[in-house]
Symmetry: none
Subunit: 222 residues, 2 copies
DNA sequence: ACCGCCGCAATGCAGGGGCAATGTTGGTCC
DNA sequence: GGACCAACATTGCCCCTGCATTGCGGCGGT
């Protein structure tokens, strides 16, 4: 995962880069709005962490432009101004999440993960893999235009797999998606769900490939 | 996207603004026809959501003026639980779509998107599933041309189910559609309505399929 | 005053999913 | 290259939760 960090406080930036690096997140760091916009055009980032107070303006002003450049790009706003009002403004302007300084790095990590998982693109978005079409809003699966009715757990798993189609989804992320945060499962039930999903999807030209020790990968069959 | 909301019920307006904000839609909110007309002159809005019952008159009277100010501006009319007569009037006066209260926020969002997507063009006015024909504006059901009289709750449920025919409607959405925002039901009454609806629709080749843990799905019987 | 809608609750029913047993694959170490 | 182990696959079982159905009673409308 590669993230764009827009932050002019060098100490904080350095700490964040180090912390994110420990979680295998590559960070591109810029210090101004202008540089951020330029960097965003590369289109390689999975999310943006955006400070508000910057040398050349308020980070919020960048949000619409970022959205133009890359529809649905997750944006997390950082701010020293932590009053609730500001929080609302931040979200209304189109950020996906808002974090007041000072914050725990772990919290930021959690938000990044959450925001990545979220259905970011709001305008009718659906993903097609093989003969499977999955509507991200409705969480509805179709095969050849026929709705495919799935039980809840299988649907939750498929939802995440489809969002990351072609990329590896690690096991714990799937567990979290299927069971929620609190629920605690102590067996191979997830495997069972995957197995049943697989049986339904393989005929539609969709493969769920297991990556041993890591997770699963959904892709179209050759 | 920026929308003009003309609504004098402050609670509803507040809820709508918050909901739309979550989808990156900026809302300008006014409470009277006069203020609405003034706001429309700014020309920055992509659509107008217009309540009918307003302190200074019927929202419908504003439609011609809005059309003068900005040709082709999409207009969605809201109205208190509508008698069929009102629905017709709403569309005849030139609104692009018409939504009876209580409605789902999701439904409104869908209409906004739909209305934005296509240039001014009349709405699809009826949906046919199996031998059931449902008029979306009149909220009237027909089987083989014979009008099917339904009680209010069943009609509200069917209305939503038909709009999402072939797609899953989740339970809470149905509850909201049938009971409105405030009404709080603490029993399986919805199930009862569905059951009765089902009895009336199955003979007409329409199935209401339960998706356990999620909701219902209306479709034509094979 | 009657009729029909609707909220409610009791009862019956079955699909879903957690679990575990067993089979299979792939990776590693000698 | 073979043997061992750990991770994944598959399947059957069984309980429980959530849905279906129906009758009852109250209330509102005509």
């Amino acid at each position: 995962m590669r993230i764009l960090l827009v932050e002019d406080e060098l100490d904080l930036a350095k700490a964040l880069i180090a912390a994110l690096a420990r979680h295998d997140i590559v960070v591109d760091h810029v210090t101004t709005l202008a540089l951020a916009e330029e960097a965003a055009h590369s289109g390689v980032h999975s999310a943006v962490i955006l400070d508000r107070k910057l040398p050349d303006g308020d980070g919020l002003s960048l949000i619409p432009r970022l959205r133009e450049i890359q529809e649905g790009l997750p944006i997390i706003v950082l701010s020293a101004l932590g009053s609730p009002d500001h929080r609302v403004t931040g979200l209304e302007t189109g950020a996906d999440d808002y974090l007041a300084k000072p914050f725990l790095v772990d919290e930021l990590l959690a938000r990044i993960r959450a925001v990545m998982r979220r259905p970011v693109q709001m305008m009718e978005s659906s993903v097609t893999v093989g003969r499977l079409k999955f509507d991200l809003h409705e969480s509805a699966a179709m095969i050849d235009g026929e709705p495919l009715v799935l039980p809840r757990r299988e649907l939750l798993a498929l939802d995440l797999l489809v969002r990351r189609a072609g990329r590896v989804v690690n096991r714990s992320a799937l567990e979290e998606a299927v069971y929620g945060f609190d629920d605690d499962i102590a067996s191979n039930t997830l495997d069972a769900h995957i197995s049943r999903l697989r049986r339904k999807l393989t005929p539609a030209g969709v493969e769920i490939h297991a990556i041993r020790g890591i997770g699963y990968l959904l892709r179209a069959l050759p």
